[in-house]
Symmetry: C2
């Protein structure tokens, strides 16, 4: 097990990462203040891990659960209401603790319920997907979707502790595991060339669920996110580099309808597009772009864009991206592998050519 301490605002919390953490009572009990615990999970995760988490809790605790249906469409006000209702029906007081057991949807909606129940109660995250382990563990973003937009209602609310059990990743579908790796690769590309090399060298071990390599990968990813967020807590500047590949990726997700491709799959193609565009600006060379492509492929990620989206439509959809302030497209590009910059330097004709010539199928 490795432990990383996230230090934001006035409060810090540990992220414990390693195999079989859900068998270690001592990792959870010290972080629970009152006697009432509500575990929020979903129908997919509950049969796998709910009993394990319950067994981690001391006998004198009142433990209850809310089991939501699985899926992004349940990151909703209705789900938050279900949690509030359950807390109130069972007389949970303001010293209670909510535990989010599941992926990003469960983490976000549970965190939001915790942030707003009786003006804020304790919150613990047990992320069970690679994406949520490397993304939602750091930053304190909680929230729900609104019919008019994702994450439109929410709050910043920090967990008391995060347990990222690498063993839970073995029950994750391959496609979702690879999608999580897209975010991992992103951290290397934007911030840490050494980490990128590590990923290149150990991708086979990662995909074979080697516990110590996975632990290292998750800790490094969380550390990079923590460093970037720490430099820019208010999201005005450098934090935007966390969106590498996202403007391209959102265009793909939007064109195909959300859910057709996993977010990480769209980001994979988006990052390769960003690298290619960085090559056009002569920031990267051909070898750099090939390295990015090989790494994404080795992670089981797509490196070709959907043929059904033509270039004009693609650029239109990129313009919808909220990061665009002026007329020029504002993008995260790579001056070098391991370094990112938010820029409007790429002329539209160059962006167009990049998308036009990008391999499709």
């Amino acid at each position: 097990m490795q432990t990383l301490t996230v230090d934001l605002d006035t409060r810090s919390y540990p992220i414990h990462v390693g195999p079989n953490l859900l068998e270690r009572q001592e990792l959870l009990a010290p972080y629970i203040g009152g006697r009432q615990v509500m575990i929020v999970t979903n129908e997919t995760v509950a049969p796998l891990y709910l009993d394990k988490v319950k067994a981690m809790l001391p006998d004198h605790m009142v433990v209850s659960e809310v089991i939501l249906p699985d899926g992004e469409q349940h990151k909703s006000l209705d789900s938050a209401s279900l949690i509030w209702d359950a807390l109130l029906e069972q007389g949970f007081n303001r010293r209670c603790t909510l535990i989010a057991l599941g992926g990003g949807v469960i983490g976000d909606v549970t965190g939001f319920a915790a942030a707003t129940y009786q003006r804020g109660v304790e919150f613990i995250q047990i992320p069970t997907t690679l994406l949520s382990q490397v993304d939602s563990s750091v930053g304190g973003k909680t929230g729900i979707n609104h019919p008019r937009g994702k994450n439109m209602i929410g709050a910043f609310w920090q967990p008391r502790v995060v347990l990222a059990d690498t063993a839970t990743l073995e029950t994750l579908p391959d496609r979702e595991f690879s999608a999580g790796l897209a975010e991992v690769i992103k951290y290397g590309l934007i911030y840490d060339a050494t980490f990128l090399e590590y990923l290149e060298a150990r991708m086979d071990d990662i995909r074979a669920y080697d516990a110590s390599v996975l632990t290292e990968v998750i800790v490094q990813s969380c550390q990079i996110k923590a460093d970037v967020v720490h430099e820019d807590e208010t999201e005005q500047g450098v934090r935007a580099i966390l969106n590498l590949g996202h403007t391209f990726g959102h265009a793909i997700e939007n064109a195909l309808g959300y859910g057709a491709w996993l977010h990480g799959e769209a980001v994979s193609v988006g990052m390769l597009m960003a690298a290619t565009l960085s090559r056009s600006l002569e920031w990267l060379d051909d070898d750099d772009v090939s390295r990015v492509k090989r790494l994404l492929e080795s992670a089981g990620l797509p490196v070709e864009a959907p043929a059904s989206v033509d270039t004009t439509r693609f650029i239109e959809l990129m313009r919808l991206d909220k990061k665009n302030i002026s007329d020029r497209l504002r993008l995260v590009l790579l001056p070098a592998l391991g370094e990112a910059r938010v820029t409007e330097e790429a002329p539209e004709s160059m962006i167009e050519a990049t998308i036009d010539h990008f391999p499709k199928r």
Copy 2:
């Protein structure tokens, strides 16, 4: 005009108090960052002050409004949703500002919407009732009711500025004005004997809406609340003295059904009961109790309990109060006028006798 600065956590904000503040553009404009402003008010307040507030906003701003129905039953998730929907329909971004124009319900629900829209946007309070001017202006509590309890969903969220215009009190029904005075008198009783004397000396001027006296009264009240909250931001100890009269008062409200008596009316009788009980403990003398009674009467507040609630029922309802941890009733009592203490010293027989002998009608 007087200005009080509230200094909590990492952020401080001014409360401006005085007559006709709603005619002074310069008090609002400096606190609005973006270009989008949403005014939230209700059907009673809108015809009186909405146009005035709109006229305070610079021309280049996009100004919109949500007008809720009047009443405590609209301090609900539905109202918060109406605000979120309006913000999203009109494309309000995370640099927008929400202005709460109205009493406590409007302030609480608007503050909650602001705390949670896109994980938190700017918030300005223009309280138009005496109660909200002296109570909700300080402390940062926002929230909505749930069918199972008041203020069960909410967040701490501080306003950028508060404008308490004493002229708005002249349109307030007499009963509501008096109910607000109950909270004002409470601040004197628990914290400041000099302020109490001031209230005794100037009650006629207060009830005649003398602007400079009202301004002084509101500033002093907010200052006392700020001092008490500052000493105890996490609500573990001394802050509880703000509940003087509330355990008795809640019993009355609960017995008669919420809304039969105004909260301040129930608190008035509750404070006199607390003073009487303090007399039984020999903390106060007869003269002290008479002074409290005369002051409440001069403010137009009730000093007799409802005859329909017998003593046994009264004590039962007091036990429901959330402040009770042990078997003994935990109450805020007065060691002297201008000084309060949370105590379990009063034996139940003494509490019973106090309620039993208390004047009723």
